[in-house]
Amino acid sequence: MAEKMAMILFSGTVDKLMAGSIMAGGAVAMGMDVDIFVTFWGLVAFRKDMADKNQRMSQDFAEMIPQFGKAMAAKKMPSWIENLKKVKGLGNVKIHVCSMMSDVMEWKKADFVDLVDDVIGVGSFIDMAKEAKMTLFI
């Protein structure tokens, strides 16, 4: 059985979604399976009506955001979601939506982009993470 990486994607800003998507790519390239548990602001970013229009960035280096955006466009870097789509196509990557957050917000699986595999509870995710070699919180 392939080694596994588990990831909790909590953040909904483009920079952190990008980091998560790139980490997933690295894991897949190294032959690992990936389970991503999407919750809180991460979950908002996976909504169909948000995925493409979300431009939020964390404010750690707010003054660098325009420069970063320009550099990414100039280097033709794919968006986090395009990259994640590609990564999913190359390996065994499952994207799980947090049932607690979906219940609270009354969102259904149909509200999320097609990349999402299922809606699960935190217990199931913990069980997946228990079998993983590494777990990231982003």
Binding site: A29, M30, G31, K75
Partner: protein, 91 residues
Amino acid sequence: MSAVTQMQMSESQLRALRTTIVDARGTACPGPLLDAKKAITTLPVGGVLETLSSDEGTKVDIPTWARKTGQEYLGTINESGYDRIFVRRLK
């Protein structure tokens, strides 16, 4: 885990290889690595994949990836502005 010493080829040996080229120049990490992973399955066992990459990290990542996945890293040629990274498909 002990390091695996791999016999690498000389530059002239690398230059003489018949390869399948994946041009990933201009894509950021881990793009070239993912392209290499995708491409190697299209080669026959024994075939050599040559990944062209302008990303600094990739020339470190591809040898690691090859070792982890049981393929043979043959060496890298540094050209001006990019690297040619050679991996033989073993399985």
